[in-house]
Symmetry: D2
Subunit: 312 residues, 4 copies
Amino acid sequence: MLNFRTDMALERRDLYKKANNIEKEVNGIETEEETYGENINITRVKVTSKEGEDAIGKPIGNYITIDVKNLKVAREEDIQKASEVVTKELKELIQKHVDNSAPVLVVGLGNLYVTPDALGPKVVNEIDITRHLLTYMPEVLDKDTRPVSAVSPGVLGTTGIETQEILKGIVDNIKPGLIIVIDALASRSIERISSSIQLADTGIVPGAGVGNTRKELSVNTLGVPVIALGIPTVVEAATIAADSLTLFIQKVQEQAQSNKFLNELQEEDKYEMIKEVLTPNDYNFIVTPKEIDELIENMKDIVARGINYAVN
Amino acid sequence: MLNFRTDMALERRDLYKKANNIEKEVNGIETEEETYGENINITRVKVTSKEGEDAIGKPIGNYITIDVKNLKVAREEDIQKASEVVTKELKELIQKHVDNSAPVLVVGLGNLYVTPDALGPKVVNEIDITRHLLTYMPEVLDKDTRPVSAVSPGVLGTTGIETQEILKGIVDNIKPGLIIVIDALASRSIERISSSIQLADTGIVPGAGVGNTRKELSVNTLGVPVIALGIPTVVEAATIAADSLTLFIQKVQEQAQSNKFLNELQEEDKYEMIKEVLTPNDYNFIVTPKEIDELIENMKDIVARGINYAVN
Amino acid sequence: MLNFRTDMALERRDLYKKANNIEKEVNGIETEEETYGENINITRVKVTSKEGEDAIGKPIGNYITIDVKNLKVAREEDIQKASEVVTKELKELIQKHVDNSAPVLVVGLGNLYVTPDALGPKVVNEIDITRHLLTYMPEVLDKDTRPVSAVSPGVLGTTGIETQEILKGIVDNIKPGLIIVIDALASRSIERISSSIQLADTGIVPGAGVGNTRKELSVNTLGVPVIALGIPTVVEAATIAADSLTLFIQKVQEQAQSNKFLNELQEEDKYEMIKEVLTPNDYNFIVTPKEIDELIENMKDIVARGINYAVN
Amino acid sequence: MLNFRTDMALERRDLYKKANNIEKEVNGIETEEETYGENINITRVKVTSKEGEDAIGKPIGNYITIDVKNLKVAREEDIQKASEVVTKELKELIQKHVDNSAPVLVVGLGNLYVTPDALGPKVVNEIDITRHLLTYMPEVLDKDTRPVSAVSPGVLGTTGIETQEILKGIVDNIKPGLIIVIDALASRSIERISSSIQLADTGIVPGAGVGNTRKELSVNTLGVPVIALGIPTVVEAATIAADSLTLFIQKVQEQAQSNKFLNELQEEDKYEMIKEVLTPNDYNFIVTPKEIDELIENMKDIVARGINYAVN
């Protein structure tokens, strides 16, 4: 399998197509695109068979990417519109798995004190919780209100406990019908940082994107369907460099300065070579944009509103 | 039973003695005091029988109050000294229940976004966690390192889940030998706000102090001993007013302006009367000192260091 | 002069009327009230002469109090409505002093790290700034955009510099036509905490409400008109106790348990007596409600939006 | 002049030497190195003449770089040791310009709400302020205490006012003898992010490192000597890519895959070419490491302690 260095099904499918010179669609994968206004693109990647699964290393299921342009300078109405798109896509995905009354548990992965990793806990803080009201003050709610609860389990480094262990216990006790997990992803592209949302109904392996693989959170391990809302917030320096080099050589080739060596070089995956030269220099940091605080705040509003309207 | 309006065993015992004109000690209760330097007082209240239990409404067990004076202007060395006292008392209490190798789970109750309720989550963030290292990198630790883990389960209002339900599941999965719970208490006195620590080996009823009784966290409900570290962070306005009125009438009486009515009044519990006059005016707020942010920061350092040295 | 123990002109006028058994209006003072919907009351107190000035200890000028009920549970639409009232009142007050093109400097007093004192810096962070854009990118703005700038000068305790000294220098350099100062006030009543806004066109003495009088910020000291937006965020424990005692005795009197001593007591100012009994016990804290974090967040939105629409 | 893309005199001198194949030292520049323990390196670059000034584009004066290794995993003792080095170097630099009693104003540039730009305001919050105590409570201080004050003037984008305009006014009013400015710099290398400190006695041009040149803060513009403490906190993506490419081609050349084209390429500045290919793709972000929050916290402790001991 290719080393994709991205958690996003969409980016993996594009890389797979390029690496294998596929013009149309990968076997076992279906894709459709949609555009909302000027700033929002949706791409729905569906892995339909084992063949698709093997191609991009993602299990059979639905992967919806919502790209929001110019989030750094987003106004209230841009945020509202993006949240409405999240609501619509999330609602459809939920309805594929449970009915409208099934209790939902929202899980915000990540560490509040690490800015690019703080999105999950911040979203949880904004979720409209109903489960306790249905128990203690049912009279304040509509009769058909869905029970919604939410937790931020923390990260292994600060709890000493695998997230899966924490969630397993909670799920056993409160028995939700569906889990929505919010997690930070790694992406190939800096421009996707805190500007894209991937919805997937196949669960999640927390930390996969940054090389700290934790135990899977999915219907297999938790016993209930898990929808993952992944937002890229970091990118590896070597990825930036490798992608830059590809663009750079391409430009050199176009300028007719091409030569045999460069042509050969361009066919290869430069990431491993770059990583090899960066690592001895302690240079292969994982980075995030300078504006990450504001990007996270805007994304938090989009995701929290998107979920609140989808589940209520 | 008296309406004590305080979670602190020490304050309850004092109120009980006063209300019943007891000169020496309450039956079923033993007390000892100790002083460390100028600024630290320790009072150990031991409830030894059913009679003591009924008197102050606290189960049989140990209740240690550490009062730290002038914490608002504490220097680094004051904080260090206070944390050493916490370590010593906590260590002794732990050793009454489990041996030195028993895994410990630290639980920080409370809401990070409500300043007077943020102590628990802030302490958890400073705890030295070893449980995951013992699993994944045992070579970096001493062989006899105690497994320590820590969680901030959130509060019912933002999770929709009873803390007991969350902890039950985690305890079942990770099987600690002992739980240390950090919680905010209500006190009778503003001067104790974020300046006192009560250690108790009888567990806790979260939120009891502020009238939101949640399900008990104790050996009875969780199956392992629970040591509670309670820190008063709020006080009821009616309590301030009632205590002020008591002091006030006392002064009036001393000044020989006494009369029959005042003498009768002083015998009664003025809290309910005050509450009655305050409540229709929406006036019975729960309050905290203006300096609560700094008091919480200093207390966080004391408690986190106190625990870290006690369990490692 | 009475010891009013409040910065709010409205409360002072009420106390003065009560202390002097005035049925109608105080000489030299004019008052009008207005109500917006269920939750918002406006009281406009105008000090028109030296006589009014002497009565309530506030200089000749306009004092508008906007009381917002139930801010603790405010929804987005309540916050929006309150901000519209602030805009309307503030706009009228500004127009009494400068024209629509006069440059405005917004000053947020207070300390970001002390929750009840953080409102000023938090509001400044939300102000729509135009002054630098008019200089560096005029093409992105309408031609008649008013230059707006904003600073958080910090507090004497953390800067070592009087706020007046900092502002004097800035005003000399950037020459605004009007200054809007946001400050925390002390109030008599807990229910006003972070739920009332006083607009005054007579400037401000920072910290006056909490006994740390700093140098005046007004047209006299800064050379340009100063509109103060004061929000009560703290109350003295002795004030709570004294006000409670007044309510309490009143109730006792109503219940026909009256006697000569109580009747005499009720005529007096109990604050000084209460303070005398509280002070030796280190008990006279300045307090703020437990919910201060959320109250401040909601008030920040109201004030920031209120100012942004008033000046643009 | 070379496009150095770094604010650090040390990096500029290294680049200049390389670009001009200088083996020994650049004319007009003197350099000395020192090592403290395992983790701390000091390099003192002195620009002594116009020739040195022209070479590296930095005015005549002293530039001291303190590199702290492994700050991400620093323990309390590492932080303490680093702060002692800052104190020593800063003290010597101060003594070159003013005597021990000269009032010092500490200025923290940057924006508290942008994590990689928050160092200045965070340091200011930890500075031991004496100026107001010398005025209001001189009895609590030693007679020869130096007056220390501190401000965080904010950034042009949130104040609408040039930092120089704000400081000019304050300096005119409080007349310090020396100003210490803390600012975020851009560096060439990710590994220097929040791990190096450059002391310079030639002042500063805020934002120079990230392409937002603001008005100079120096003895020329403010009338008193300005010592700048600059800490790199961001790096440009194109710089990462260009530096990676240089390392990459070097490796390719070593592996005897060299060819004429690559040899020529290696002689050139690849930054502009890289930038050209990145910019149309919106790809040339300014980035910061994922761990920036913790790096900033540790650096804040080092700098604040370093300054506090140097000026008191």
